[in-house]
Amino acid sequence: MAGTENSQKSFGWAATDTSGLLFPFHFSRRENGSDDVTIKILYCGVCHSDLHSVKNEWGFTNYPIVPGHEIVGLVTKTGSDVKTFKVGDRVGVGVIVGSCKTCDICQQDLENYCPKVIFTYNSKDQDGTKTYGGYSDIIVVDQRFVLRIPDNLSSGACAPLLCAGITVYSPMKYYGMTEPGKHLGVAGLGGLGHVAVKFGKAFGLKVTVISTSPKKESEAINRLGADSFLVSSDPAQLKAAMGTMDFIIDTIAAVHPLAPLLGLLKMNGKLVTVGLPDKPLELPIFPLVLGRKLVGGSDIGGMKETQEMLDFCGKHNIIADIEMIRIDYINTAFERLAKSDVRYRFVIDVANTLASN
């Protein structure tokens, strides 16, 4: 019977088919090994990837699936080789829980790009069993993939940093978007986009939000601190902003045209895509060649960099803007997420609302 391979009982909510509806689900976790940390989960962010996965939109979901990879909790057990964490520590777990640890890529602290990477849910673990995510009561994780949460950040609002945060922080560093005074465009104002605005301001950039929804303008400027707002469906606004941005972080998950975004870039400008459209996008080559522009991708970040990102957030008091929900609200939350009806991340209050029957 699925989910009974291991010996620590666990309880969560899982989806069992492409309707994507979640229901209570009993399963198990492995015994806490010598390198492991067992964590009682306090909060788990609801990432758009969770929604894509429960509905099998990418075609590789292995049901039943317990999503959730923005996890904050408390250490309850530590293995004999674990030195950096102790019982009671407040920790986080993000999108990955394992890698080969020995290849060139892992040696460069880029476990997220390891060909043998193990995802927090819907992956095959080292022992051959399936991984289950953070919409559950406990999780057992190799210490290399556990993160310290800065003391001054509140647990619930910090949870989304573990995916949304690192997903925008990493490319901002890698593609050089940290030079004060440069102009950053953030396309899409959802879970990823709103954190990108905050990081952009912390790096000293001028930030313009690029969105199809004019009603997000007031919040973007007054609450998130963006310097300006561009309605991308307005040709006049697009034209006026052509060739003004040094970089753009594109967080849009739906299929969308790249040409207008490329037009917003200055010469040598960089467009980095972190959203995951389920079909290829059209890329006009002339603007790339004539302007030496680039389109790059990025995928979360390695563990060292994720810790660096969390510490950066602690230093600059950066947290996500969240709506806290009960676990039994999750199906409604997913419906609202599909319509982008959230400012800007749902976070499940797991510890207080997930009760085993």
């Binding site: 990418w58 880029l110 060739g243 790249l258 895509t273 890329l283 080559i285 060649v289 030496r292 990025s298």
Partner: protein, 361 residues
């Protein structure tokens, strides 16, 4: 009333021009400006035939102002200099490439990136700062501001070296700019034509392992034995492509036809870079997920190079004996050469011996 090309300027000039979208070239009388105080006048000795010349002659990009005198891979000798010219004297061997003017004061120009200036003036099919059309190197003389004239290295042949001025810089610049010039990297060159074959030579000179990626099996022997490539990958062979997945640090894509980027992206290692220098006229599909994202890969463009870098490239080519492989042709062969170019029937660049074969009618 607009002046005729012959009357526009005081100095008589003669060349071959295309007059309509058939792209067929024929003798054409026109004129060049008087040598201004910062200008260099040169007698054209050789001019390479770039694929862009063909696109322009036929108006494939919809931008050609006829009549067009193509040619932007020009080598020659200085015949006159303006009184404020410091860098050249009569008798010097020189080169002229794809650009003859820029604004000289924008951010790009100030960083020696005149090729990315929003006001750049192309060597042909463009409008000069005096409002007159520019005519290229399929002609007897040129007059060019000294800033855009290049010193010709002593040991570089004028004929075989001419294609460096476009094909050379177009592959040299991205290898440098995107950090693909470090020894020990694995570089792929897609397409083995004018650009591709020079790209192989530069990448080898930088100490890379070089794989040519091509649809034509019959190019394999030459690529390896003559051009020095280390390996050859047939892009239509699924099994070969699968075996090469994730093994390339960078790929320079010279193909100008519409083609799929997905198989090329899958060849890249994580952090790999796919640089497009060919210019397909329709957008290409790029799979954002998983290819681009799960490997932190990038697709980027590059267009020729700035003037400082073009000089550096010429000097590098002279030092490392990097010469394009050319077929020297006479001026009146140009239409046949264009027909053969359409079928990629050239190893690997035609160069017109302008000095000896361009005769005024």
């Amino acid at each position: 009333m607009a002046k005729s090309p012959e009357m526009e300027h005081p100095v008589k000039a003669f060349g071959w021009a295309a007059r309509d979208t058939t792209g067929i070239l024929s003798p054409f009388k026109f004129s060049r400006r008087a040598t201004g105080e910062y200008d260099v006048q040169l007698k054209v000795l050789y001019c390479g035939i770039c694929h862009s010349d063909l696109h322009n002659a036929k108006n494939d990009w919809g931008l050609t102002p006829y009549p067009v005198v193509p040619g932007h891979e020009i080598s020659g000798v200085v015949t006159e200099v303006g009184n404020k010219v410091k860098k050249f004297k009569v008798g010097d061997k020189v080169g002229v490439g794809c650009v003859v003017e820029s604004c000289r004061q924008c951010d790009q120009c100030n960083k020696d990136l005149e090729n990315y200036c929003s006001k750049l003036v192309l060597t042909y099919a463009a409008t000069y700062t005096d409002g007159t059309p520019t005519y290229g190197g399929y002609s007897d003389i040129m007059v060019v501001n000294e800033h855009f004239v290049l010193h010709w290295p002593e040991n570089l042949p004028l004929g075989a070296g001419a294609p460096l001025l476009c094909a050379g810089i177009t592959t040299y610049s991205p290898l440098r700019h995107y950090g693909l010039d470090k020894p020990g990297l694995h570089i792929g060159i897609v397409g083995l034509g004018g650009l591709g074959h020079v790209g192989v030579k530069f990448a080898k000179a930088f100490g890379s392992k070089v794989t040519v990626i091509s649809t034509s099996i019959n190019k394999k022997k030459e690529a390896i034995e003559k051009l020095g490539a280390d390996a050859f990958l047939i892009s239509r062979d699924e099994e070969e492509m699968r075996g090469a997945v994730g093994t390339f640090d960078g790929i320079i894509d010279t193909v100008s036809a519409v083609h799929s980027l997905s198989p090329l992206l899958s060849l890249l290692k994580p952090d790999g870079k796919l640089i497009v220098v060919g210019a397909p006229e329709k957008p290409l599909e790029v799979p954002i997920f998983p290819e681009l994202i799960t490997g932190r890969k990038m697709v980027a463009g590059s267009m020729i190079g700035g003037w400082k870098e073009t000089q550096e490239m010429l000097d590098f080519a002279a030092k490392h004996n990097i010469l394009p492989d050319v077929e020297i042709v006479s001026m009146d062969y140009v239409n046949t050469a264009m027909e053969r170019l359409v079928k990629s029937d050239v190893k690997y660049r035609f160069v017109i011996d302008v000095g000896k074969t361009l005769k005024p009618q």
